[in-house]
Symmetry: C2
Subunit: 202 residues, 2 copies
DNA sequence: GTTAGCATGTAAGGAGTTACATGATTTT
DNA sequence: AAAATCATGTAACTCCTTACATGCTAAC
């Protein structure tokens, strides 16, 4: 079973569809794209960039006639320090599209939910709905399981544990309501424009 | 630098202070203690249990005069299948207390927040406040940083990314308000009973 | 007595961090 | 020209999952 794309790989390809970026800048945009949580260290980022490059999904951009006069920076080996700007290749675009429209095991879909959502503008309408509904289903299932077992041992728990549990449930419930709103919104969108199923940028 | 306790280790010790448990059961209680998220696999759990045992922090409980008649199960090697029940040793209690009252680097404190909170009943009042306030500070700092950089690139983002960002910020803001409530509650508690600083069970 | 679920365990590997090292550019 | 910050890179390690294997116990 070929290992699926990681969060970071997908997010990187997603970000590079809009603008070519170098690693350092990419990292900043990532924490923006994925929220206050989820910052990746350079120790993860740079190896991933190289891997993507070796697989031909991204490529370095030559500085054309920019500020720097120091030539031969980019493609070949040895003395390449300073910014290395990457852009998405044709293969990369294709790969990203196939990742964005594919389904995976639920654990994978959960882990990747926020990236997938952040890249909804590049995702077709059917997949958007599938992702939102899939997440909704899994969250409510977990909610049900927790509520059930919580009921059985409620009296054995101290006030802090109870409060943590209450707060956790509330957070998930809120998430479900958020998803509900998005789902009805997507449905409305679909009925207004039934033909839409490819790229879109706002 | 001796590696700090992991979430799972601390949670395990915390759960075992109340009741002796075997691994399988422990796992169920863990997902309850730590909310709908955070379920650990057996591949993680059992090695951790053995490690804790080897370090003398937990010990197997002999079945005394329980149902089973099959002797010599527990301590020594070879044929031990069926439940293995663990309890906290004196060393384990001591270790847990020292972990619960110690401070760590902020990344560690963030990762461990929920476990620490779940074990507040066994934590002294000063530490409770320190943990709550520390988390509040870190969250507001992140909030500020994200808001700031978000303002700079808002117009370059599509509607989905914006919605994700908005939702993320809202979640964190809500968390901060939750912490505020807990902090004032702890302060009130402290002024009503200024001497409390050790174990407590509800 | 055999299926189903409880219970424990191990090996391989994935995804990420930390700590470190170093080069390039800007600021003072 | 020194200091700060931008920018890239690597090695070792941690925590955890997956996939597998196996034994025990109860239900039918």
């Amino acid at each position: 079973m070929r290992s699926r794309s990681t969060v970071l790989e997908t997010a990187t390809l997603g970000l590079l569809t809009t603008v070519p970026l170098h690693g350092y800048e990419l990292r900043k945009q990532l924490s923006l794209l994925l929220g206050p949580l989820r910052a990746f260290s350079y120790g993860t980022l740079y190896p991933v960039l190289r891997s993507l490059q070796q697989r031909g999904l991204i490529a370095t951009v030559e500085p054309t006639q920019a500020t720097a006069a120091t030539t031969a920076r980019g493609t070949s080996l040895s003395g390449r320090r300073g910014r290395i700007v990457y852009e998405l290749t044709a293969d990369g675009k294709e790969h990203l599209q196939s990742v964005l429209s594919s389904a995976g095991p639920s654990a994978w879909e959960d882990e990747n939910f926020d990236v997938r959502f952040a890249l909804f503008a590049q995702t077709d309408a059917d997949t958007r709905l599938r992702i939102l509904e899939g997440r909704r289903t899994r969250l409510t299932e977990k909610l049900e399981a927790v509520r059930e077992s919580a009921a059985r041992i409620r009296e054995r728990l101290d006030e802090y544990t109870l409060e943590l549990q209450r707060h956790g449930l509330e957070q998930v419930e809120r998430e479900v309501r958020w998803l509900d709103g998005l789902i009805t919104q997507e449905r409305g969108r679909a009925s207004r424009d039934p033909r839409e199923n490819q790229k879109e940028r706002g």
